[in-house]
Symmetry: C3
């Protein structure tokens, strides 16, 4: 069984790069310049984890983990120069689903390690996975996709809940981590394949 710390680092690496691509692509569509593309790459890549760490009163993770920052910048540059190829690359949303699932469980694990209860663990999982994308859309001045379409945040919620539930039952953290990751990824995958959505209010 892989060590939980290694899994957390691995989660950050994949998630950061793929999420950075999503920000960079959004900036390219808005015809931002090179600086704007890199800034919008940073927002989804590290925004959720930054907000999580500030609210949990922990050191912001990228102050001592500059690899995340380089990966975010690399994602932005890749989006700037290769956006056509990236947008045509359909497996990208599967990579995004991996990042979503990993961020959700790593955020939940960080809250759990600090001794917080079930509700806070759920919120931190969802926040780590989705707040950066929300900030990206707000800064790009478009309606947040997250809040309108798709089973996306719900998959993060499921992953965090599975993790929190299993650790509460005494399951080892590394197994709970793997199960939460798998649950989030499967739900997100089903949503992509079958175009699942949450209900909307009846107007």
């Amino acid at each position: 069984m892989m060590n939980i710390d290694v899994a957390l680092i691995f989660a950050d690496r994949i998630g950061v790069f793929v999420f950075a691509l999503s920000g960079g692509i959004a900036a390219v569509r808005k015809e931002m310049d090179l600086f704007g593309v890199v800034v919008l790459a940073f927002l989804p890549a590290v925004g959720g984890g930054t907000l999580r760490d500030i609210i949990l009163d922990q050191p912001v993770f990228w102050l001592d983990d500059t690899i995340s920052l380089w990966l975010a910048a690399a994602g932005g540059l890749a989006a700037f120069f290769l956006h056509k190829a990236i947008e045509a690359f359909r497996p990208l949303r599967w990579a995004d689903a991996v990042g979503l699932a990993l961020f959700a469980v790593s955020g939940a694990a960080k809250a759990a390690e600090l001794g917080h209860g079930f509700l806070i663990i759920l919120i931190m999982g969802v926040m780590t996975a989705t707040a950066g994308g929300l900030i990206r859309d707000v800064v790009a001045n478009r309606d947040p996709l997250l809040l309108k379409e798709d089973i996306y945040a719900t998959a993060a919620l499921l992953g965090a809940a599975v993790y929190a539930g299993l650790t509460a039952l005494g399951i080892a953290s590394s197994y709970a981590f793997a199960a939460g990751f798998a649950a989030a990824l499967i739900l997100r995958g089903l949503a992509i394949i079958f175009h699942l959505s949450l209900p909307k209010p009846r107007l």
Copy 2:
């Protein structure tokens, strides 16, 4: 005279739920899905207090007060399922005025208890009462109502100023709290009844 701590908790409870309704209704109007409605309910309900606590370097209040979170979620669900009834319920803006007045004074009191001066007390009162609503409008991608219409933030400013002024004069905190609350509520009430607005720049 009711205990100041009880008054602060009471302020959070009413304010959180009514402010959550305002966020949920904004999300329904934007045709967001269930998750979006709940997220937009959280922003005004706990956003101002979260920002206040982060800037004052205090533990974010809802980490140890999950009742606020459940009330915010309940407000979001109520907006999702009952938005027609809620929008037709005219007393709602009076409940919102109560929340505004209570948040302003509780935010001011928190800054005062930490030993901050008059200007910081005012800013924290206004921030606690209005920043969440501002974030709600920014995320919903609409022009912030707060900044364009109505005597709203000004009522929060008055409430915080009355609280800070009276405590500076040596009045007991609980009396100052009540007076500040009353002042904010009366000014906001007059603005609702007589459609008062702040001046706009001459273009």
Copy 3:
């Protein structure tokens, strides 16, 4: 050679007032009321430094430096009453360039004094100089100018890099500060005079 602490305070003073004018003018154009104009003056004036301090886990600078707050409020009031004269005052963008250069180097210096590495110093310089203006545009619900036009953030990046590079070479902090300030101001000045821009992605 002027003391570095005095230079830092001086940087805050000029930058805060001129940046506040930019926020106030943006609010006037959006036809916000008096409160909205003052709030939008605060965002660029102290927003970048606030975000820097929160991420670096330092006390937010304006809690103990209320002069910055009064200057920000004064900038907002000036924009409200004198916006026509201010907008016609062409030297204003030169004053803005001074603020940009000073904020970039003071933000970089704060990160450096805390012992952070090169990349974090750069990010904090750019963030201090530009994040407040970005938040201003997001709250005013317009596309962020920063991310689309002009050599602006790039000048902040250069100033922070010169400061960080020279101090790494063992140059005294006050000389590095002056050199970084000059580098940022010159690049920004050239961009204003020659209408320089960063490249945009080829769509």
